[in-house]
Symmetry: C2
DNA sequence: GAAATTTATCGAAACGTTTCGATTTGTTTT
DNA sequence: AAAACAAATCGAAACGTTTCGATAAATTTC
């Protein structure tokens, strides 16, 4: 392995001079710089980043931790963080928590390999977050709430989202609105449900019949919907904790011979890419993902720069009207139990 | 910042002993180990990963470079690489090339910050790849072909894919089959086109009228399709270089009052998530993305271990039949120019 | 043309680890 | 109880950089 020492020797200068030359300092004369660069090229010298970081005590990279590197959900968010990160002259790397909750994240957070982090991943323990956040490595946590020094929170206003979606259905005349939520470790899902309940309450509706949990996956939505439809009475609308579950819902409804939105109106949450292409196109609640991403990144840099920032930010959410809802039939659509 | 030195002092042992204790060596007695661990906890000691890597000369992480961290395309692929990487006890991080072709990728490859890399990104220059690949950092390049020491290639058999898709259309009776390809820097797209041409040639069809390029985006597909439809004669089928362009194609066709598959049959490429939900569901060519991911990762580890591996691998591809194709009408469907 | 000043180069220390070989301590063998 | 051995601890050197302060060389000033 060729080091800067070799380069220096080959160029016939001192190690320190070689270092100056390679990092483009103006302390070195043009002609020796040339000499060194030439030597570096000839030896195919590659700088060792660690040694550099070790001296410099900063890495100029920030880490994005996602629960699943691959989900369709994250696209916009990543784009947002990326743009801000780059424009600050930093690099962005991403990792996920698959395979042992804290593993990779642990390595990068705890071993001080990054200068900041953005975490959208319920699997990362609060303990790790609190231990790792410090001056020189602020952390922004998304879609959950973690208190601690150098820890900030960014989330969509899920309560509002849940509330608006439910109100929207109620304004169309629905009163029997089911909720199929996400896993219980998702604060986002809990908040959406809160909004949902709040809207119902305002109208004096006390629904306890139609509240189920799924797991944010298509299968989960499918099964929960089936369970729902097997009951004696059926809702005229279903509000899903996310779009993927709504997709599963579509499937289940079709199997029961019910059509959307004639028999049942549907609202999802997230506005993933597919939502627009379903038939009927899915009415859903769009989170400002891009904005959340840029916001998170900005916060990291502000905190890094020692600026005072609030601990917690909530971003507004928007209802996307498509074709999966319509007013309910006048006579409530009562099921008669299992039909298949 | 508290270092191992502080821990050692606090525990009343030598620095080296502290190091042994912290890394769980059995050279140290249980009771001093306890002592050291205790001290570390009290001081909230966090190990410095760089210093460690610098000594150890390995990072135990491999890098995945994607052109766009966010595309829906990558999900399965990432999952594949991730599984293999983790099961080898390594960590996987991802970065993209957005914002200055080589920046982040450059930093990690060139500065020896990883022990291996998997690259699916046409923006990364061959030069960088060849310079960075070395013993101790093998690189697998996907969907293109790069020659060099410690560089291996994995790709789907795009020629085969293009060929089969085209044959499929021909077997249904189509003879006027258009091609709307991806950007010219995509080797994959080129190969698909090759397969397409080969299939046509076998039947003695010499199409030059209906070959356009898009840019792998929905808009690109939309515009190219419009251009296609404005021509005097119209194809009875269109083969798109990827699914996203096919989606744009659906839109354009609808605007022209043409329906899929009655008026025009459509085949896409990639089988992204949406494909299944379009109406009609899109017939497309599925790349074995998961397999490509695991393959790539395995290759990295084999090369790392000094095993001999082939330089290049091609994986078979599969046609997914859905409802966007049917035999053409008997009288070829001749357009009369622009109709709207 | 010598003194003062600037510019270019150098040597050495530091960054925080790991790890080798040497030393000390504790245990067993005779 | 001394000799032989094993186990535990220690000191110091490395890893490849950056950077400070010191020296040497080149330039300016009087």
């Amino acid at each position: 392995m060729v080091t800067i020492k070799d380069v220096a020797k080959h160029a016939g200068v001192a190690l320190s001079t070689a270092s100056y030359a390679l990092s483009g300092s103006d302390k070195v004369s043009p002609k020796t710089r040339e000499l060194v660069l030439q030597a570096a090229k000839e030896l195919n010298y590659q700088k060792n980043g660690f040694a550099m970081d070790l001296k410099r005590k900063s890495t100029k990279t920030i880490l994005l931790i996602l629960s699943d590197l691959s989900g369709p959900y994250y696209s916009e968010l990543i784009r947002g963080t990326q743009e801000v990160t780059l424009s600050n002259g930093f690099d962005l790397i991403a990792c996920s928590s698959v395979g042992g909750a804290d593993s990779t994240a642990y390595k990068f957070l705890q071993e001080r390999r990054v200068d900041g982090a953005i975490v959208l991943d319920p699997n990362i323990s609060e303990h790790l977050l609190r231990e790792s956040a410090r001056e020189g490595c602020p952390i922004v946590v998304m879609d959950r709430y973690v208190e601690g020094d150098f820890i900030m929170n960014v989330a969509a206003d899920n309560v509002q989202g849940g509330y608006e979606a439910t109100r929207y259905l109620m304004e169309q005349g629905h009163r029997d609105i089911a909720w199929i939520g996400g896993p219980s470790n998702s604060l986002g899902s809990q908040h959406r449900k809160e909004g949902y309940l709040k809207a119902l309450q305002e109208e004096g509706i006390a629904n306890t019949k139609w509240m189920l949990v799924g797991n944010f996956t298509e299968e989960g939505g499918y099964h929960s919907t089936k369970v729902l439809l097997m009951q004696e009475e059926r809702p005229t609308a279903i509000f899903y904790g996310n779009d993927e579950m709504a997709i599963g819902g579509y499937k289940a409804l079709r199997e029961f011979g019910l059509s959307v939105p004639e028999d049942v109106s549907i609202v999802g949450f997230d506005d993933i890419q597919v939502a627009e292409y379903l038939s009927p196109p899915l009415t859903t609640v769009r989170q400002p993902k891009y904005e959340m991403g840029t916001m998170a990144a900005h916060l990291v840099f502000q905190a890094m720069g020692g600026e005072y920032v609030n601990k917690s930010y909530k971003l507004k959410i928007e209802l996307i009207e498509r074709l999966s809802c319509q007013p309910p039939r006048l006579a409530p659509n009562r099921g008669k139990g299992m039909e298949t």
